[in-house]
Amino acid sequence: MTTATTRRPRPRQARTAWWKTATGLVLTAVMLFPVYWMLNVSLTRDQDMRKSPPDLFPVHGTLEGYRKVLDEQLPYLGTSLVIGLGTVVLTVALAAPAGYALAHLRPRGGGVIGFLFLVAQMIPGIIMAMGFYAFYLSLGLLQSVPGLIVADSTLAVPFAVLIFTAFMSGIPEELLQAARTDGAGPLRTFWSIVLPMSRNAVVTVSLFAFLWSWSDFVFASTLANGGAHEPITLGIYHYIGNNNQEWNAIMATAVVASLPATVILVLAQRYVAAGVTAGAVKD
């Protein structure tokens, strides 16, 4: 940021910057083309879906898909939001203390935990889901929002432990030493020094946890199907019938579902950038 402002006065620099913005725009456009295509399909009439060659713009656009989605899908969005936020809270609550312990308290065998998380991530999602199903059935947690929150958090916790450990090892040992000299126990140190200093890490982890739970489908379909509260990814399945799929409604749901999340993403972006940084690379 600072470099840009200090250098701006020089005309040559300004021209390069303009050129870079243009390149950036082109790259983003290329990257987001499939997203545009999804938007395009969501507005397309059934009979034009497989037109050859396809229309670049929805010339005979129809809002039928959206009408359907807005009529039927809004409650699902709410559920997804609650589940996403719940996952964030749970993930942070579990992973932050673990990160602190691994980064600064050096427990015997702590490395094995980190390693096990790596391996745990390789268990196929559907097997995880089957395990949860058997587990939840005996606990009576099937089709419940808390159950889905716990299941979704398994997607993010390993990653979160990793990131927290990385960030927290960036906090100078001297600072914690000083706190200890002042008589602060590990809990106080964690609460009043480590956690506040890792605010960015919390934001980063939260963002990823939210994204993963937002787009989760496997757990939702195994554990929440048919319940009173279903997330938006299941909502999409209502347009996939036994023999027939309503593609413009499916795509419209995806568009509607990604809007609130996009807003969150753009808002959180500045924190993320600053966030992952802090502990990742130490000079």
Partner: protein, 413 residues
């Protein structure tokens, strides 16, 4: 500032934990468990996620429930997901009281010991057409009753055929069909679209041609079987069918037909409602057999079954529910919404009386054949998997039809 955020965070975390434990405490054996203490609640699983909570289908279930004096709790699954869910639930001794499931799955579930026979559950299947009921029979036992049936036929675009100078009446066998495709292509239009995807859908679509050649599922690599696969392969090579069929689902294939460029599409009863929306004049033609006459098409559609319960006392009410769902007037309503053909002659007549366009479909369903019939039972899934693989290999040019089917047959053994 940070402190307060932190404190709030813990508070929320605690609430979540409290909620979680709270739910554990009070909902054990509640809504999610099929065998709750609450014996007035009966669970039903269906593969119709497209029917929302306020749909006619859901209302019908509620109605049948109150008639039987119980509350029906319905869960809709994506059909490809349902088999696993049922097996998993049965393993955990948590099967639904009533299960509606795709017909070729019935024999697999019966083999797994998940379903009760009609001897146990006292369902009356006497009115059902025998060829439809066969899909739910295995080893001389019947495991359920069809809720409706569908099958495949050829939809054709009248305008395209007219422009190409093809008379539909001339299409009697494979040769005349291929000749028609050639004419269509010469006229600058596209020939035929179908679905040859690498799943059960692909086998479902290939079967009318396979059976129409006179081949049997027990011998995939017979000369007749090869001729059916060669027919498809040649269509692709000559450009009568698009290359995309290899990856087409039945929906994708329908979308191609709906674009108005194609002369023919192999598709099912369920597309009738969409066909009226397509914006062109269409007709329906039974799929011809190799040397004339109509090919047997496979039956599609679901069966209503009663899974095994620990508490056998539940069967009586489950039977009441199923009987209500498959009563004449309810079948009529359900099959109309699903765009299916009813499984009993009585309701079929009623359907034709209401909509004459259904006539060719009713005839096709009467001539159709279950995939697991011929006492194939659980052998069918293995055969089917090898069959769709062979179709994919041949159409994509990886292997010749002979080699592909030969390999498939040796894999089935």
């Amino acid at each position: 500032m940070n402190r307060t955020t932190g404190r709030r965070l813990t508070a929320v975390a605690l609430t979540v934990v409290a909620l979680a434990t709270g739910t554990t405490a009070c909902s054990s054996g509640g809504s999610s468990s099929a065998k709750g203490d609450d014996s007035g609640t009966y669970t039903l699983w269906d593969p119709y996620p497209q029917f929302a909570k306020d749909s006619a289908w859901a209302k019908l279930l509620d109605g049948c429930g109150s008639k039987a004096g119980v509350k029906v709790e319905r869960t809709a699954f994506d059909t490809s997901d349902l088999t696993n869910k049922v097996l998993l639930a049965a393993q955990q001794d948590n099967s639904p009281d009533v299960l509606i499931v795709d017909n070729p799955v019935v024999s697999t579930l019966a083999e797994a010991g998940v379903l009760t026979t009609t001897d146990d559950n006292k369902l009356d299947t006497s009115k059902v057409d025998p060829n439809l009921l066969a899909a739910g029979q295995s080893g001389g036992k019947t495991y359920g009753t069809p809720i409706g049936a569908n099958t495949l036929a050829l939809y054709y675009n009248k305008e395209v055929l007219k422009a190409a100078g093809v008379d539909v009446a001339s299409i009697k066998d494979w040769q005349s069909l291929t000749a028609a495709l050639e004419k269509v292509k010469k006229a600058g239009k596209k020939g035929i679209t179908f679905s040859a995807i690498g799943t059960e859908e692909g086998s479902f679509q290939f079967l009318p041609w396979f059976w129409g050649s006179g081949a049997k599922l027990t011998e995939l690599d017979s000369a007749q079987g090869t001729s059916a696969l060669s027919l498809w392969t040649d269509w692709l090579k000559k450009g009568y069918a698009p290359n995309s069929v290899i990856n087409n689902t039945q929906t994708t294939s329908w979308q191609e037909f709906a674009s108005g460029d194609y002369a023919f599409a192999e598709n099912g009863t369920w597309q009738l409602a969409n066909a009226d929306k397509a914006g062109f004049d269409y007709g329906v033609l039974p799929i011809p057999a190799s040397s004339g006459g109509n090919a047997a098409a496979p039956t599609g559609g679901e069966f209503v079954t009663v899974p095994v319960q620990g508490d056998t006392g539940r069967y009586a009410t489950a039977q009441k529910l199923v009987t209500c769902l498959t009563s004449t007037e309810n079948l009529y309503a359900t099959d109309t919404t699903l765009s299916y053909v009813a499984p009993t002659s009585e309701v079929q007549d009623k359907q034709i009386a209401a909509d004459a366009e259904l006539k060719p479909w009713v005839e096709a369903v009467k001539a159709a054949k279950g995939r697991t019939s011929d006492d194939l039972g659980t052998k069918y899934p293995k055969i089917s998997e090898q069959m769709w693989k062979a179709v994919q290999s041949a159409l994509s040019g990886a292997q010749s039809p002979e080699d592909a089917l030969g390999k498939a047959q040796s894999a089935v053994k």
